[in-house]
């Protein structure tokens, strides 16, 4: 086993898990996808050969695998089971109650966005990727990435404005 993969895991797994958790909204799917991604890399480390931006490459791979996982689980599970699933805890628990309330509200607001819009918002806000990088990672045009981000942020702002204004 290559020790580089352990290092790769330590460097990128938190960001990948955060993206997957936010994108899939299901902890089991996020975990399975992250596991599948690293098993792929363990089996075929040459996939990383020549990759310049490792984080962007891994996020792109994670996105594709998450879509595959989602398709499989949609077939496998009844829709009613999906609807009954408990809301996922996205963020670290905060010591400050106000901050905790804001994180809970943000998690709920993110759930209101369509998955692909949420993916763009996540990559822009939490990975600081450019629209060109997001476009490449998600296989969409850069303009689409930009407009999805704008719609997503506007919706989050509308949903969170009262709480956000209160906390300022």
């Amino acid at each position: 086993m290559s020790p580089d993969l352990r290092q790769l895991y330590d460097e990128h797994a938190p960001a990948l898990f955060a993206f997957l958790l936010n994108f899939t909204r299901r902890e089991a799917d996020a975990r399975d996808t992250l596991q599948e991604l690293f098993l792929k890399l363990i089996a075929r480390p040459q996939l990383l050969t020549g990759v310049q931006n490792t984080r962007a490459f891994l996020l792109r791979l994670a996105h594709r695998l998450a879509i595959d996982t989602h398709r499989r689980s949609t077939v496998r599970e009844a829709a009613i089971e999906r609807a009954a699933a408990e809301p996922v805890a996205l963020f670290h628990s905060a010591t400050d109650p106000d901050e905790g309330a804001f994180r809970s509200a943000l998690a709920e607001a993110l759930a209101e966005l369509p998955a692909e819009q949420r993916a763009v918002v996540h990559l822009k806000l939490w990975e600081q990727m450019t629209f060109a990088e997001i476009a490449e990672a998600l296989d969409i045009p850069a303009n689409t990435a930009a407009s999805r981000y704008r719609y997503g942020i506007d919706k989050l702002q509308a949903l969170l404005r009262p709480l956000y204004e209160e906390l300022r």
């Binding site: 955060a18 975990r31 690293f38 075929r44």
Partner: protein, 130 residues
């Protein structure tokens, strides 16, 4: 990035499950339990555009089926040659045994031959048999 976006970006996500790293890289990693790593699989080859490859395969199937349906019928030349061969055989047998007569099948093939070919073509075909 405005103040609201900055506020959002400062929120910290939960880390991956602690046991996942051990599962992947621990004493008995999942990778070790799985099949030996393949350098190349069909799925990897088809991965970039499985639909495009599927469509191409379907197109080939349609093409082959069409070719099969529109294949040319057996050529009259081939039938004529078979008839000629039968005539030659019969002629040989006539030479060795003058009493013998051609069977009904040979007569029929002979008739077909004469009906479809001029004498020039017949000679040409006979030459080619020799």
């Amino acid at each position: 990035m405005n103040e609201f976006e900055r506020k959002l970006s400062q929120q910290i996500f939960r880390p991956p499950p602690a046991d996942l790293r051990a599962t992947l890289f621990g004493a008995s990693p999942l990778a070790a339990a799985s099949a030996p790593p393949a350098l190349w699989t069909w799925r990897d080859w088809f991965w970039p555009s499985p639909q495009a490859w599927g469509a191409l395969a379907a197109l080939w199937v349609v093409f082959v089926v069409q070719q099969w349906d529109h294949r040319p019928p057996r050529s009259p030349e081939g039938a004529a040659l078979r008839g000629l061969s039968a005539v030659v055989q019969w002629s040989n047998s006539e030479l060795t045994s003058p009493e013998s007569t051609p069977s009904a099948e040979l007569r029929a093939e002979d008739t077909t031959l004469l009906a479809f070919h001029s004498s020039q073509e017949l000679h040409h075909a006979l030459d080619s048999l020799h």
